[in-house]
Amino acid sequence: MSGYFRDIGSSITTILTGMGITLRHFFNAVKRKGDAGIDEENYFNQVDGLVTLQYPREAIPTPKIGRYRLYNEIDDCIGCNQCARACPIDCITIETIKATKDDLAVCGKTSGGQQKRFWVPVFDIDVAQCMTCGICSAVCPTECLYHTQVSDFSEFSRENMIYHFGNLTKLEAEAKRKKLEEEKKAAPAPKPKPKPAPKTEPEKGSQ
Amino acid sequence: MGDTQENIPQSGEVIAAKAVWQVINEKFGDAVSELDENPFMPFFEVLKREQWRDIALFMRDNPKLRFTYMACLSGVDYPEERKLGIVCNLESLGELGHRIAVKVKCDREGGIIPSVAKVWKTADWHEREAYDMYGMEFSGHPDLRRILCPEDWEGYPLRKDYQVQETYHGIKVPE
């Protein structure tokens, strides 16, 4: 019998405690937490009150190293294919054409001053497949492939999510390919070290 | 695995495993193989697989062994040997603290391994999973069905020579 009354008593007290907590939150609803980012000093300043941020108008800033939409700065890309090989899910497709000698100047240099030796007609990233693991950007030698902080980029159609970063159009690529063939025909013998060539050939063959 | 056995001082884990193996070897003789004393995961193999359940019971209930806890049971494919197998990681939880791994192998086609689902209940679902993924039978298992793949799935996915089926119930499977 005493257990019976103790149960009733503890029910009442614990329920009232709980109600007190929710009521306190109800009255704290006049305060707002604000949209300070985690790297800002005042992040934990307001610990009570509403925490909701009204997204399209306010949001906590994404940290600098946030990995969301994958982006390639094609001007800096040297077409080394390392990202495509590192990607565990193969969501990057790269095709390269070796630049002919006279084109090297046109092909340009990366922002780091490195001479680019390949045209990259196809650099496709399927962001619908990308799992933002960051392995590709870690291996990129010129740091041209990186994840941006933009996360909100939904689409109505699946096709729109294959991002094309290639720096040549199809026609241009065809022209460059012909040019390379011609150069190879013109000077087949005197090249002592045709080392980078086999690297690119499988890609060309697959095309 | 010979290259891993160097003359470095053996860790306590290996020494304990050796003692365990000796107890089992005394009882079952040549039903079990020599202990592989690698430092990562000392293991022995059950050569006479029809004795595996007896060995398991012995390992669980012998006061010197008391392997009360089965940490893991993994199915493995050995395509070169044309065999399938299981690897069990056992531990005496909270009592003696030692651990050891046991391997049991069977034929690739129609291989049967005695089930230990009633010795360690952990093994129940793990054996079902091994059956699901590799296709070996577990004799004496209370409820041997596929567990992860659907009941009418074709093939055993984790075998090295697995080919994905084209459609499943009219839905295209490969990319």
Binding site: G18, Y43 | N38, S74, G94, A101
Partner: protein, 400 residues
């Protein structure tokens, strides 16, 4: 601990004190009904399916069906190289990615034999303890929802959001981090992390207390969980339970103490086991209490590690990562304490290829859930929901 008999069926249930399962009297004639719970059901925490045979409200038998989220982790592990497996490990137990990565890296590093920098060890411990709190918050929050209390769930998610922000600041992602790499971590802590983390600890303590008052001490909550889903310790071990589930049954067993991996032996923390005053040992409430207590312990660990962590200017956390990860031939079973229990990886390497020959994940939920059939015998449907909630399954880990 009870002595197990000689027979195979020796782990026969010993009905513990306080067990309140319903025994159906056979002379009352009633019809059995098959009730299909899931895969889309609010309380199955994902896509678990339970086929319950019920007599009125009483569940006579509940058979779990898995595989609705079977994402072929083990196949992928055999197909991609070692660093590429880590993101897939993330996606296995998506509530505690850091801890899962930690377990996987421990397993591979055993084979690789690399020296991990001390600061990296501290970083790993801190982020995985943060993730443990986040994971337990989800477990407690969803448990509250299962029992019909919605507000604690939102409080839990509110606090979890702070942890996610902290971890995103560190690792660049909110949930699936790919942060703990084999041989190191992806980034060093950002500047000011220590202060913010300590502020979080200061912020979280009163909030945890509030949660405890709102939910754990509530009489209805206690009534709904006390004495439900009783599991004696020996049966629990036989089922292979681990983590909070096993500790809820009164077994003081924590891999952080047992295996003493990383820097855990240097830290001062206790293994949380219910003392039986507030709950019956082995019931749902015990398991809930263990989780609540573990959050507190994790806070202690974080505080200690932040203090002890060596400061190094210009520290490169990727320095110890091998250029090409190709472990020598061998087999290894590496494991770590996940929020849900023992997460182990059995890895087989042939010494030649850069991807594992076999990688089996011993997931804690998979094993914990296998006791569902026995736990659900003779329970009411609301108790069944309560039991599923207390197991705290993550279907990604169950089905892999």
């Amino acid at each position: 601990m009870q002595e197990l008999g000689k027979a195979e069926h020796s782990s026969v249930r010993v009905t513990p004190k306080g067990d309140n399962r319903v025994i159906i009297e056979k002379d009352i004639s009633s019809e059995e009904m098959i009730l299909n719970m899931g895969p889309q059901h609010p309380s199955t925490h994902g896509v678990l399916r339970l086929e319950c045979k019920t007599d009125g409200e009483v569940v006579i038998e509940a058979e779990p069906y898995l595989g609705y989220l079977h994402r072929c982790f083990e196949k992928h592990a055999e197909m991609v190289d070692y660093p590429g497996v880590v993101p897939f490990v993330d996606r296995m137990d998506y509530l505690a990615s850091m801890n899962s990565d930690f377990a996987f890296c421990i397993a591979v590093e055993k084979l690789l034999d690399v020296e991990i920098p001390r600061r990296v060890e501290f970083i790993r411990v801190i982020v995985s303890e943060f993730n443990r709190i986040a994971s337990h918050l989800v477990a407690i929050g969803t448990y509250a929802i299962d029992l019909g209390a919605f507000t604690p769930f939102l409080f839990c998610f509110r606090d979890r959001e702070h942890i996610l922000n902290l971890l995103e600041w560190t690792s660049g992602a909110r949930m699936l981090y790919n942060y703990i790499l084999i041989g190191g971590v992806a980034y060093d802590f950002p500047e000011g992390f220590k202060e913010r983390a300590l502020e979080f600890v200061k912020y979280f303590r009163p909030k945890a207390l509030e949660l405890q008052k709102l939910l754990t001490e509530n009489e209805i909550f206690v009534k709904r969980t006390k004495g439900i889903g009783m599991m004696p310790a020996d049966v629990a071990i036989n089922y292979g339970w681990s983590g909070p589930m096993l500790r809820g049954s009164g077994v003081e067993w924590d891999l952080r103490k047992e295996d003493a991996y990383s820097i855990y032996p240097e830290l001062d923390f206790k293994v949380c086991v219910p003392d039986g005053r507030f709950s019956d040992i082995g019931d749902c409430l015990s398991r809930h209490l263990v989780r609540a207590m573990e959050m507190e312990e994790s806070l202690n660990i974080i505080e200690q590690s932040l203090e002890m962590m060596p400061e190094e200017d210009g520290f490169d956390p990727r320095a110890a990562i091998p250029k090409r990860i190709r472990p020598k031939a061998g087999e290894v079973y590496g494991r770590a304490e996940n929020p849900r229990g023992e997460l182990g990886f059995y890895i087989q390497s042939d010494g030649k290829s850069t991807s594992p020959l076999r990688c089996k994940a011993r997931s804690s939920c998979f094993v914990n859930l296998s006791a569902m059939k026995e736990l659900s015998l003779g329970q009411l449907i609301p108790d069944l929901v309560s039991i599923i909630g207390s197991i705290d399954i993550v279907l990604g880990e169950v089905d892999r």
